[in-house]
């Protein structure tokens, strides 16, 4: 080794990782109410208008709100995760540069990117879970049964990580001055092609659109959660959902982490 002082402090990457994760949790923790309002407002209105208002007015069939709810949870999960990586990365890399101190922490640069993903997933999981009490308040009840838990949890974790990886790609690949346009171009199609408002098999009559939705990872989160929470509604098989999510996570995280390293090291 190079000297006694060099070995005096042995810091494993795991403890550095946790220290960096703790920074993000500490900062978000102080702003929890703002964070919750930010991520919950959109799904809340979606749930209210589509699940409550339209059904009260008789424009939707009875039971529609029960198949909408898993979709709204899915939407909350993926969009929160995506925005939790993309926006902070654009700001920290381009404007405040404040990520630099963490890039110089003694751990591999790729792990800093993974930390960003894990943290975004944690935020998104909290946001998704908060949708349950909100669902109960707005709809009176939400679809749930004890057997739903395993598939729901696995889908939630894979789905939020996938969303975070997609945000990592956006946040590192899109030039900062284009990020607003990019958000519109990406989020709007994502929002409406992800089987949030309709179950995938019901699109049989609209074949081309059914195929389009297969390219949106959100489809597999919505369908996975729907299958877990309201199994009586026709849905994509759980194992296909999980397989698709694992593939999407693999693709987006490898592109995103590579993009992150490219931004971090000249």
């Amino acid at each position: 080794m190079s000297g006694p002082a060099a070995t005096a402090r042995t810091t494993g990457p795991a403890s550095v990782f946790l220290a960096v994760l703790w920074r993000d949790i500490f900062v978000t923790g102080r702003e929890l109410p703002i964070f919750l309002i930010q991520v919950i407002l959109q799904p809340l209105f979606l749930l209210f208008v589509f699940g409550k208002v339209l059904s009260e007015l008789g424009y939707t069939q009875p039971g529609y709100s029960q198949l909408l709810f898993p979709g709204v949870v899915s939407l909350t999960a993926i969009l929160t995760a995506l925005q939790s990586t993309a926006l902070p990365l654009v700001i920290e890399f381009s404007f405040t540069k404040e990520i630099e101190d963490r890039l110089l922490a003694p751990m591999p640069t790729a792990l800093v990117a993974v930390e960003k993903m894990v943290f975004a997933a944690i935020r998104a999981i909290i946001a998704a879970l908060v949708m349950f009490p909100i669902g109960v308040i707005i709809l009176g009840s939400v679809p749930w049964h004890p057997g739903a838990a395993p598939m729901f949890i696995v889908t939630l974790i894979l789905g939020t990580l996938t969303g975070a990886a997609m945000g990592l790609v956006l946040g590192t690949a899109v030039p900062p001055n284009r990020i607003n346009v990019m958000f519109t171009l990406v989020l709007t199609p994502l929002l409406f092609t992800g089987c949030v408002q309709y179950p995938w098999p019901s699109l049989d009559h609209l074949r081309w659109f059914q195929i389009v939705t297969l390219f949106n990872p959100m489809t597999y989160i919505s369908e996975g959660m729907r299958g877990a929470m309201v199994p009586s509604v026709p849905h994509i098989r759980p194992e296909i959902c999980l397989l698709a999510l694992v593939a999407a996570l693999g693709i987006f995280s490898s592109i995103g982490i590579r993009g992150f390293i490219r931004r971090a090291i000249d």
Binding site: M1, S2, G3, A5, A6, R9, T10, T11, P13, S15, V16, A19, V20, W22, R23, V27, T96, K97, E98, E100, D101, R102, L103, L104, A105, P106, M107, P108, T109, A264, I265, D266
Partner: protein, 330 residues
């Protein structure tokens, strides 16, 4: 990591950096060694390759070729371990705006695995040293440039790095803030911390650095102590004269010719900016400048030229830079 390890704090061998799509190398075959405990200055104009060199040594810029060692650790092969040995204070404020001044220090220590019970004590000590104790719990949003610089240096020292890199630490600071930073760098030197500092200020390099490397266009042009660098100049010292001629020709030709014949004078040149009726002349001498005052005065008196002002000049690093590159630093 194995075999003979030099006690050099920084060792750079033939490093080259070419950025993608660039037509020239930003750093082009630079080699130098910084001894442990030394304050080492890299001096050069903007774009000389100083910041890229620092970037390479602090693992933020990937080498195209060559080797860089910090505290004996290869920065390209083992960046993770290298990062625990070094700290860097960048040109731009990159403090964590979501945290207070104290929290910036504490979290940095956390990233570097400083034991929890040591962090608070070390933070208090550094906050005091940098005059930040009273503002320790303020957000960093509204601090001045000088304060940001102080906070960043304090933060960098939280994990007791072996080598501290300061990238243009006083650019844009007011004179008081600049002197404060200089004093702290001298303190660090006394504590045995190796400091690598980049600057485009001659004054700063002379004031702080034990040795100075002069960089331009990615090359290291010269490397030595500030004194040795200036001694290496032709005509190691100068006499600046202001004369006025009573016989009225006023073009200075007579002075130049007579002074040039004196022994011990290497070169005489007329300096442009002189007041009407006077001539400003710079005499480059090979020996001790004070010894030349009398012969110069006598020579001028014989010509009936009066000597209005004499100034002894030591050549500065600025002159070294001009002599090496043929142009002024900025």
């Amino acid at each position: 990591m194995f075999g003979v390890v030099s006690d050099a704090a920084v060792e750079v061998r033939e490093i080259v950096k070419r950025y993608p799509k660039a037509t020239v190398n930003a750093v082009d075959g630079v080699s130098f060694t910084v001894a442990s405990g030394e304050v080492f200055g890299l001096l050069g104009p903007n774009g000389a390759g100083k910041t890229t060199t620092i970037g390479i040594l602090t693992t933020r810029v990937k080498l195209t070729s060559g080797t860089g060692l910090v505290a004996g650790v290869d920065v390209a092969r083992n960046p993770v371990h290298a990062r625990s040995q070094l700290a860097v204070v960048p040109q731009r404020n990159n403090l964590d705006r979501s945290l207070s001044i104290r929290q910036n220090l504490l979290f940095h220590a956390g990233y570097h695995g400083v034991p929890r019970h040591d962090r608070a004590a070390r933070a208090d000590e550094l906050l005091k040293m940098f005059g930040l104790t009273e503002r320790a719990d303020d957000k960093v949003d509204f601090v001045s440039g000088g304060q940001a610089q102080r906070i960043m240096i304090a933060r960098a020292l939280m994990h007791t790095p072996k080598v501290l890199f300061l990238d243009e630490p006083t650019t844009g600071l007011d004179p008081a803030a600049r002197l404060f930073v200089w004093d702290r760098v001298r303190d660090l030197r006394e504590q045995g911390v190796t400091v690598v500092i980049t600057t485009h200020s001659m004054e700063e390099a002379t004031a702080l650095a034990d040795r100075v490397g002069i960089m331009d266009h990615g090359h290291l042009l010269a490397l030595d102590t500030p004194q040795a660098l200036t001694r290496s100049l032709p005509g190691s010292t100068t006499l600046d004269l202001v004369t006025s001629s009573s016989n009225g020709d006023g073009d200075g030709a007579a002075e130049l010719e007579a002074l040039g014949r004196l022994s011990g004078v290497e070169k005489v040149e007329r300096v442009a900016d002189s007041a009407p009726g006077t001539v400003r002349v710079r005499v480059y001498v090979t020996g001790e400048a004070p010894m030349m005052v009398a012969p110069v005065a006598t020579t001028l008196a014989e010509l009936g030229i009066s000597l209005n002002d004499v100034r002894l000049g030591e050549p500065s690093l600025e002159d070294v830079f001009i002599s090496l590159t043929g142009r002024a630093l900025r």
